[in-house]
């Protein structure tokens, strides 16, 4: 009886924890630094997700996002910025640069090829 109670309580807590982690945990956001030549650049590690997964950039300045895919798992083999019509393969253990100039303020989601792994680009 006690075992059942423990498992039930533990299960409920685990469900709460999982949902909190996915939906409410605060993600660290990274602001892009402006490099020589006036390009905003951010390096992103791709390994089971995007690190950092919230990127803040300024409007109207060209952006370069360097995605380094640190795994062979093919979930992450493509990066998609639907709003910018970009869909690019990310070869494993290589850096792939995604370049564009955001012209409008707003939040843009970027995902893996299947829309599972997600990150956010905030344009201010």
């Amino acid at each position: 009886m006690l075992a059942k109670l423990i498992i039930t309580v533990f299960g409920v807590l685990l469900i709460v924890l999982v949902n909190w982690y996915f939906f409410f945990s605060r993600r660290k956001s990274t602001s892009a630094g402006v490099k020589e030549g006036g390009i905003q650049e951010v390096k992103i590690i791709v390994k089971g997700g995007y690190d950092p997964d919230v990127i803040v950039v300024k409007k109207g300045i060209p952006v370069r996002l360097d995605f380094y895919r640190d795994e062979t798992a093919d979930c992450s083999d493509t990066i998609v910025f639907g709003d910018f019509k970009i869909r690019k393969p990310l070869p494993a253990f290589k850096t792939t640069a995604i370049e564009f100039t955001p012209e409008k303020e707003g939040e843009y989601v970027f995902t893996c090829g299947m829309g599972m792994m997600r990150g956010k680009l905030i344009v201010r």
């Binding site: 059942k4 498992i7 299960g11 996915f22 910025f81 639907g82 299947m114 829309g115 599972m116 997600r118």
Partner: protein
């Protein structure tokens, strides 16, 4: 997906490790110390095998773009300082003279300056018959020179070439999202936490209410739920079909701007054609010549063509062209005067030539009774009658028409078969317009539409609740192409029209319109099949894995079968998209 598989197999593995090292712990709790090392291992093997198949299939979805990229020639032979030199294609500059020998690839876009040949343009336009090239003709980079050698001047290099633009367009299309995908995207973003929560709940319920050994049941169902859930199928359903569909289009000279264009194109019910240059050749030609009062046909044509020499009217060009074809020697006109909206007046060989419509003749008091009936006949046949008078007396009648393209009638028939209503838009008067429409088999005509009013006509059709496609070319059409639900630009078109349109047909053949719409219909059908399968699979599979059938039928899904189902699910979605490669586009 990785998260779910990793959590599922790790749970089975760790449980087995504990059961192996501390069996007494399980015995004391009245539970069976089962081990699932084999299950964990087999699941991973099956999933990896599925991934292998999926990766191979996914590779094929982007084959079209790889093929396009592979078309790019590596070197060019150019003449610099009077010498032929081979240089990398990236170093060719606009204005360079390029030499191409038979069997060689044309390196960049340009205009032929010297020599003649036939060029295979099928890789760019989809046209299978080689195209003749003479000085003044345009050549496209990446096409193959067949018979003769020629020299051409480079006009577009690097990212400006037709091939580079096509590649960019296809890449953009493949990166774009189709609205139909939205629901799948929303579900994908909640998928992992929801499935993990569901699996934990399954574990708790089996542990609390399941039969002996409840821990084993709880663990097996937990793992099965984690493994069977297949977000991949949902995520792959739309993009793979869009990639294959747009790639297939590009191979056939049909450039589709993206998922949204594909989706709208399949819902169309009305298709508007601009007449001149779209349905017709856009180059008027003389169809009939009538001479009276003892004048010869040559005499009429000579005077008319000579008078037109300085005019810039397209109908005048047709008359001059016909005279040149008949090897008639033309004179220089004197006292040329264009009478706006009526015709022209000039002196040729000291004879007074008057050329124009009925109004002009009546204004000048010229008796045209003898020709009037014939003129009416021409007009009702869609031709433009031009009266010719010499020295104030009626001399003859020239009928000019812009003939239908050979492919137009067949193309329109195909579109009708697809259930579309066809509308013709033209600046011509009602009589001429209706005559041409009859020939083309079109029932609805919008005549006397000024170029700037095309947009309003499209808007009017849309306000009738129709989904309208506009087929046109040229800068005039750009606003109408943009206003239409789907703008289809034909021919090599201007860049402006390409920018404003949703679909571009590289080849000027109208049959491509039907092919484009058919391709969009097929692609959307595949997307719907994929989405249905992906939703159905997960909605049915997850509860079965959780054991809903067990209380009623005693059926419990082995996690190994769950992994096989999961692997099959995503492979089947990609394979279904690949079927689009085999679609036959008859153009």
């Amino acid at each position: 997906m990785n998260t779910l598989i990793a959590v599922g197999t790790s749970a089975a593995y760790l449980y087995s490790v504990v059961a192996t090292l501390f069996p007494s712990f399980f015995d004391a709790a009245g539970m069976k110390p089962d081990v699932f090392f084999d299950t964990s291992a087999l699941i991973i093997v099956l999933i990896l095998f599925g991934r292998l198949l999926e990766a191979r299939a996914k590779g094929q979805t982007s084959e079209a773009i790889k093929k396009l990229m592979g078309l790019q020639p590596k070197t060019a032979r150019i003449i610099r300082k009077g010498k032929e030199t081979d240089i990398p294609v990236e170093e060719v500059l606009v204005g360079d003279t390029v030499v191409v020998r038979p069997g060689e690839k044309i390196p960049v876009d340009g205009v032929v300056k010297e020599g003649k040949s036939a060029v295979d343009e099928s890789m760019i336009t989809g046209e299978s018959i080689p195209v003749k090239k003479e000085p003044g003709d345009e050549v496209i980079g990446a096409t193959i020179n067949k018979t003769g050698s020629f020299k051409f001047q480079a006009t577009k290099v690097g990212k400006d070439t037709a091939l580079a633009q096509i590649i960019k367009l296809v890449q953009d299309a493949q990166g774009s999202k189709a609205p139909i995908q939205r629901l799948a995207d929303v579900i994908s973003s909640y998928f992992v936490p929801i499935v993990i929560s569901f699996a934990i709940a399954t574990f708790v319920i089996w542990f609390n209410f399941g039969p002996f050994p409840s821990l084993t049941f709880a663990l097996l169902t937990f793992v099965a739920v984690m493994i069977i859930a297949c977000p991949c199928a949902l995520g792959l359903a739309t993009p793979t079909a869009v990639m294959v569909g747009t790639g297939k289009g590009a191979e056939n000279g049909i450039l589709i701007k993206g998922g949204e264009s594909l989706e709208t194109a399949h819902k169309l019910d009305t298709i508007v054609f601009d007449k001149t240059g779209t349905l017709t050749k856009g180059e008027p030609e003389i169809t009939d010549l009538v001479s009276i009062n003892a004048h010869s046909e040559e005499e009429i044509l000579k005077h008319a063509a000579s008078a037109e020499k300085v005019s810039e009217h397209p109908l005048g060009d047709a008359i001059i062209k016909s005279a040149i074809e008949r090897k008639i020697e033309l004179r220089d006109p004197k006292d040329f005067k264009a009478i706006e909206g009526h015709g022209i007046e000039a002196r040729v060989d000291s004879r007074n030539v008057l050329l124009g419509n009925i109004k002009l003749m009546k204004d000048r008091g010229i008796d045209i009774k003898e020709l009037e009936k014939k003129a009416e006949e021409f007009a009702s046949d869609g031709k433009t009658p031009i009266y010719v008078s010499l020295d104030g007396k009626s001399a003859g009648l020239i009928a000019v028409a812009d003939p239908l393209k050979e492919s137009s009638v067949e193309a329109l028939e195909k579109l009708k078969k697809l259930g579309l209503e066809i509308v013709m838009l033209t600046g011509d008067n009602r009589k001429t317009a209706e005559a041409i429409a009859r020939k083309a088999g079109i029932e609805r005509v919008l005549p006397e539409v000024l170029p700037e009013d095309k947009v309003h006509e499209i808007k009017k059709l849309q306000s009738e609740g129709r989904r309208v496609a506009m087929v046109g070319d040229g800068i005039n059409d750009a606003p109408a192409l943009a206003q239409a639900d789907v703008g289809i630009a034909i021919g090599s078109g201007t860049d402006v029209a390409m920018e404003a349109s949703d679909i571009t047909l590289i080849k000027g053949d109208l049959r491509g319109v039907a092919s484009a719409i058919e391709l969009s219909k097929r692609t959307i059908r595949v997307i719907k099949q994929n989405l249905f399968w992906a939703f159905f699979y997960n909605i049915a599979g997850i509860p079965v894995a959780a054991g809903v059938l067990y209380p009623f039928f005693g059926i419990l899904l082995n996690p190994i079968f769950a992994s096989a189902a999961m692997a099959f699910s995503s492979v089947s979605v990609v394979s279904n998209s690949l079927r689009l490669r085999r679609v036959k586009l008859r153009s």
